[in-house]
Amino acid sequence: MTPILEARGLVQQYATGRSLFGKPPSMRAVDGVDLAVREGEILGIVGESGSGKSTLGRMLLGLETPFAGEVRWRGQPMPAPRTDMWRRLRAQMQLIFQDPLAALDRRMTIAAQIAEPLEIHGLMKGAEAAERVAELMARVGLRPDQADRYPHELSGGQRQRVVISRALAMRPKFLVCDEPVSALDVSIQAQVVNLLRDLQEQEGLTMVFISHDLKVVHNICNRVAVMYLGRVVEEGPSGEVFGDPRHPYTRALVSSIPKAGRGLTDRIILQGEPPNPAMRPPGCAFHPRCAIADAACAGEIPELSGHRGRLTACLKQRAIIPATAA
């Protein structure tokens, strides 16, 4: 199956300061990512702050132009920003992010906000649009009487539903969700997670789900890519990656999640500070915090490649004797 969206060698870097002489210092947020999103799947991107996951998400949507590499949509290169082609494509690709209150206009009613994209693109008007809005609201579980409310009158979970229904108004094919449930309480978070799963299962929406919450990613995503300092270090079906993590970083990440009722058992506590993209270690970026790294790890950047049926970017994977056959 051909991927709906494909990223090849994506790199993004930002200048971190000014310099009177010579090249200004820069920081690589994303450092060479290859990724393929298949039609109808939810691909999770997990990582801690500084891993470049949000930057990657914006590049996948064409909201940010990569420094190097390219994004292909259905086999075609992304059109240049702010062209007609780009606008048409943008309608098919939508972004949902963490803070719904920031994404909504606080002086517009819920119904007006959901109808807005329909009107901007001149698709529907009047009664037809009102009908579509009612349909969208019902789809995400908002009550009809909430149509005339304003964002501040709704709870956080309800606001995120409004954002989702507005994103759905254009019948998109592809959603990028950047930490969409992180600001929500546990009981509400589950409601939104289920809604996103329904959208995938019933309407065949393709999604990239960016989150630092491994539990949520594991629940919602078919496949997952783990990022560390701008590179994908492990990729695979989410059950495999979280059930039997292979990369030392993924192992530490998975074991750092305390389990309700049991807490932290047999945990790997990573030493050292969270990674800083402005000071990337040479070689494998994870080696200063890695328990099994040796001199070779400081000298070579490992590529994401197949080792024992799994995709990992770790020099040690070749040497590791398979764990007890799981």
Partner: protein, 329 residues
Amino acid sequence: MAFVSIRDLKVSFDGVQVLHGIGLDIGRGEAVGLVGESGCGKSVTWLAALSLLPAKARISGSVRIDGQELIGAPGPEIEKVRGARIAMIFQDPSSSLNPVQRVGKQIMESLRLHRGLKGAMARTEAIRLMNMVGIPSAETRVDLYPHEFSGGQCQRIMIAMALAGQPDLLIADEPTTALDATIQAQILDLLSTIRRETGMAMVFISHDLGAVSAVCDRAAVMYAGKIVESNEITALFAAPRHPYTVGLLDAIPELDVTRARLQPIKGTVPDPKYLPTGCAFAPRCTHATDFCTTDQPELKRQPDSGLLACFHPAGRYKTETLTRREELV
């Protein structure tokens, strides 16, 4: 008698009651978790106990530490308790430190206040504390400002500052929520280690049930300004009795089960201005009866263990939950 005992603590802001009579005992050296969603009053309880709420808050009830009443006590008396007997650390470590003061100076301020240490002695002790909480090369970094540390390190400095007063009780208010997963694990580990070494009691406030079970012996679940259930950690998670506790546990995805659909709690947390007359959870509870919508259940000691405020506790739910989990594993 318990070291700290809270009785019928009530708080309201502008006529809206947010805390509806909290009763809680903390023993010496004990680690108690306070669990619940935003707005349930878990932080307000301790901010009220230490008079850290804004002046418009109306507080009634009783908070005693070794028999000394804190509610209504004069300012200087409460100041003697803050930091010296009960210390507190907060959710957002980076903005909880004074941005224009060197971190060492902020730690030394507590040392002067509670242990009378000054000058070189205070500085040496501040460095020792920074080392103890795992700040590398503390000798040189004692004179840096908060923005020169990462979020995790700022939380370590907050912990060092709290330890400076050698408190009997540490209130940790969502101390790991703003941190990344691996750093979160480091801080949880640090808190457990310190508690083992100093023997101080701890109240760990969090919405993360996993984090609570990592560091606590016992936990209380709060909903809409009340404690609805409390028990030993193992009992609470293995056999939750209040439908809200059951719902919370079901709503959290776990890493080691297959990807089943989550079971959310329907509806939303009630607006404290318009609380239901009966049990506050009744509108969201699948097993509520008419009785639940008119009468408020009291928090009562249960025959086996723990405290519970529910007319229709789960026993039945428990087995259902377990079967659901078992068939998924």
